[in-house]
């Protein structure tokens, strides 16, 4: 143990130097580092530790894509098709019911059941139609089709959420799929978390419908909504926070927002905020057809089942462009709508399952408090160790300094995220890191008491403490790794720093301190050891 192989010495020194090189950029202000990264050779590390959202401020959202709503909606569509097509084909049916995951109906003439089933299968390839007794039909998605809807909804939602968040221009958002139907979104440094949430959870489906002029709003409100129409509230709210009015809108979608190619905030002729839009060729043609065929009618602009406005069609609109006005837009809300329309509609409803948002003020306070606690903890431990162990204490303290550098370097190099509990993990490591040294020093003391010579005492001390250090640290490491696998947000940061801290304190105690002690021993050759 007294003799340390040259390659080991080189390795130890190399690790320590690397530790310092990687750790240094973290001690400097960001602009200094930026300046460096331009002037220094590119192989030098200039990364800083990733701060968790709890330290730099930002929003963590766990979202669920409600793919069932997509299926329910498709079932609605199939039911509509059944109504029209069966009428055309002269297939009589009763008891048409639309549930959350299927449609049920009974064909009057059981002999027609097979033909009816064939007709339904042709409407949507993904459905399975089961024929029951006496012409009963039940329509549902196959398991594979449900899985596909789920998968596609999540993938599309991620894409659209990414576009919407990119519109903020913020740095490096994290958008990840989690499990079957969940999406994790982390937006650092968010100034207004409410806006982010609204932007992520608004479906933003824009559709154009004709207003049903065969009836009045009052009649519809009394419950007499004509078949194929529905009563929708206005998007604009009155002072009491209720919809300013209602519209009877035909269900049929004349043109849908997925044919938009662009949307921009603008002002109308009265100089109030509005949103201009442009269709692709398909949308433009449909829009032209609709407006040509319905001059004099009212065209409702509907966003997520709320009517923005319903202007009169004075003349055919052939250019494939238009403007959405009315609806009580402010400059911000017009801008927001333009962003949403450009990014596209979400394929399904999105629910917020979990939210953790930290404002920038609290983040900075936490960093400051963590820094103060770490420095004070460090000073206390250093003073105590030197008081108790004298020169050997100094060795341990130097090893502790390298230990900290290596922890910070490892966090930086791995681009792990430092959270507030992570800082707590580092402070805890500072306390526990001296443990391995203490084990060795106590062992050396004992051997000295047993009458061994300094060299032999140190040799035996390192040898005997070794297994104890491994055993005791591995058990703590087991706990730390399980903590990581439990994997909930900031707590994960704690387990990362704790694990790295355990490994690096084993390394520094066993290798680095030993290098110091052995070098000192061989140089001074003391007669008596004062551990």
């Amino acid at each position: 143990m007294i003799h340390i192989a040259t390659w080991k010495r080189v390795l130890v020194i190399l690790v320590c130097v690397l530790g310092i090189v990687y750790a240094v950029p973290n001690l400097l202000p960001q602009d200094q580092v930026d300046e460096w990264s331009e002037s220094l050779p590119s192989w030098l590390p200039v990364n800083q530790i990733n701060l968790g959202l709890d330290l730099q401020g930002g929003s963590h959202l766990l979202l669920r894509v409600d793919y069932q709503s997509v299926i329910a909606e498709r079932m609605e569509g199939i039911a509509d098709e059944i109504r029209t097509q069966f009428r055309q084909e002269d297939i009589g049916f009763t008891g048409l019911e639309v549930g959350a995951d299927g449609v049920a109906l009974t064909v009057r003439d059981p002999a027609q059941a097979e033909a009816a089933a064939e007709l339904i299968r042709a409407m949507d390839e993904s459905v399975a139609v089961t024929i029951g007794e006496e012409g009963a039909l039940s329509v549902a998605y196959t398991e594979a089709a449900v899985a596909e809807v789920q998968n596609n909804s999540v993938i599309q939602s991620i894409e659209i959420i990414r576009r919407r968040i990119d519109a903020f221009g913020t740095t490096e958002p994290v958008i990840q799929r989690q499990g079957d139907d969940r999406i994790v979104v982390q937006v650092p440094g968010a100034e207004d978390p409410e806006q982010i949430k609204n932007r992520l959870t608004t479906t933003a489906r824009l559709t154009f419908h004709l207003i049903d002029q065969s009836t009045s709003v009052a009649e519809a409100q009394a419950g007499q909504v004509p078949a194929g129409s529905e009563l929708l509230p206005s998007r604009e709210l009155n002072e009491a926070g209720e919809p300013a009015g209602y519209y009877v809108v035909r269900r049929r979608v004349m043109v849908s927002g997925d044919t938009l190619t662009d949307a921009q905030p603008t002002f109308d002729q009265n100089n109030t905020p509005a949103v201009s839009f442009r269709f692709d060729s398909t949308g433009a043609r449909r829009f032209a057809d609709t407006t040509s065929e319905n001059v004099g009618g009212l065209l409702a602009i509907v966003l997520d089942d709320e009517v923005i406005s319903a202007p009169r069609i004075n003349s055919p609109i052939l250019g494939g462009q238009g403007i959405i006005e009315g609806g009580g837009f402010t400059v911000e809300s017009a801008n927001e709508l333009a962003v949403l329309l450009r990014a596209g509609a979400l394929p399904a409803d999105i629910e917020v399952l979990e939210e953790r948002t930290v404002g920038p003020g609290l983040g900075q306070d936490s960093i400051d408090a963590g820094r103060v606690a770490a420095v004070i903890g460090l000073v206390l431990v250093v003073v105590f160790i030197i008081l108790v162990y004298g020169l050997f204490g100094v060795f341990a303290v130097i090893a502790l300094a390298f230990n900290l550098a290596i922890i910070i370097a490892a966090l930086t190099a791995l681009q792990a995220t430092l959270t507030l509990p992570g800082i707590a993990g580092i402070v805890l490591t500072v306390g526990m890191a001296v443990d391995a040294n203490v084990l060795i020093f106590e062992r050396i003391r004992e051997e000295v008491r047993n009458g061994r010579s300094p060299i032999s005492a140190i040799d035996a001390g390192y040898n005997r403490a070794f297994t104890t250090i491994i055993d005791s640290n591995l058990t703590t490491l087991i706990a730390a790794i399980l903590l990581f696998s439990m994997g909930a947000g900031p707590v994960r940061g704690f387990s990362v720093t704790l694990s790295i801290g355990i490994l690096s304190s084993m390394f520094t105690a066993i290798m680095v301190t030993r290098l110091f002690v052995v070098t000192w021993l061989l140089r001074t050759r003391p007669k008596v050891l004062n551990v």
Binding site: E354, G361, L362, F384, P421, I423, V427, L474, T475
Partner: protein, 309 residues
């Protein structure tokens, strides 16, 4: 060289003589913890129970908690609790999980923001829906159980089975009494507390293993001594290391408790308790328990014998 010497000689504390008192104390502690947890229940935070937590800072200085309580109480959001958090201007608002699906929490947050108005900075907003809350309970329980199991297996593989059992007894003692402490003082029990529990488990084992290691070594070294003598010798030989490590760790944790900020305080508190109880249990629970379990001297196994004379 050193200014003062810490336990310069190997002490001769007759630890095992106090083992009846220690057993009584520990049994009472564990029993009280279980009763307290069953009767008082744990004050689960929103991580597990679901609900909303909002930390606000009054921009005009000291916050008027009574007025805020009145405003928010009128919203009909169920149980709403407010408390000063760290500074007079900072208030922590806790709102129970809202009925009516996952989006209900979000609507409640919006209403709170509308009601309180612009005079506050929203420093932190956390909302956990019912689904996630249930999942976190599961993950947390699983992590603690797995950790205990994995540690048991590790010790089993490295030592005689009696060591494994005693180490886990000491560990359960520490974990249960920490949970009991949280039930008695009704501090919030959240994800960070679970992290603290796992760290305490790790530390407790770490401490126990160091003593056990020495017991194992001394069993081979002092063949003529009786089991109690060997256990006592091992405890005394490792005593100065046990205390040193606990003290340095406590120093760091005390710094964290007082200067680490309000969010981390409960976490540091749990760990401080854990270190103290973990140190106690290694000495007074784990090692005496070894004696009760009829630990035998192992036959001389060469691969386990330490180097040296």
């Amino acid at each position: 060289m050193a200014l003062f010497r810490f336990l310069n000689r190997i002490p001769h504390v007759p630890f095992l003589r106090f083992r009846r008192q220690a057993y009584t104390f520990s049994a009472l502690l564990v029993a009280a913890s279980i009763v307290a947890t069953a009767v008082l229940g744990l004050n689960f935070g929103i991580d597990f129970r679901g609900g909303i937590l909002i930390e606000v800072r009054d921009q005009s200085g000291a916050a008027d908690i009574e007025e805020m309580r009145g405003q928010l109480g009128a919203l009909g959001l169920g149980e709403v609790s407010l408390q000063e958090f760290g500074e007079p201007s900072d208030v922590l608002i806790r709102i129970q999980s809202q009925e009516g699906g996952e989006d209900a929490n979000q609507q409640a947050i919006e209403r709170v923001r509308e009601t309180l108005g612009d005079g506050y900075d929203y420093r932190r907003t956390e909302a956990v829906g019912p689904t996630v809350g249930a999942e976190l309970i599961e993950a947390g329980t699983l992590a603690v159980l797995l950790a205990i199991g994995a540690i048991l297996i590790y010790i089993w593989a490295r030592f005689e089975w009696q060591f494994g059992v005693c180490a886990v007894i000491a560990l359960l003692h520490d974990v249960i009494s920490t949970i009991g402490l949280f039930a008695i003082i009704q501090h919030e029990f959240n994800l960070a507390t679970v992290a603290a529990l796992l760290t305490i488990a790790g530390y407790s084992i770490n401490d126990t293993v160091v003593v056990f290691d020495r017991v194992r070594e001394n069993l081979r070294k002092y063949k003529r001594e009786s089991m109690p003598q060997i256990l006592e010798r091992s405890l005394n030989e490792t005593l100065s290391r046990t205390l040193m490590t606990s003290l340095t760790t406590l120093l760091a944790l005390v710094a964290l408790y007082f200067f680490g900020g309000a969010i981390i305080r409960d976490f540091a508190f749990a760990l401080i308790w854990g270190i103290v109880i973990g140190t106690y249990s290694s000495i007074f629970v784990a090692v005496p328990a070894l004696m009760q379990l009829n630990l035998r001297r192992p036959a001389d196994k060469k691969e386990e014998a330490p180097a040296g004379p």
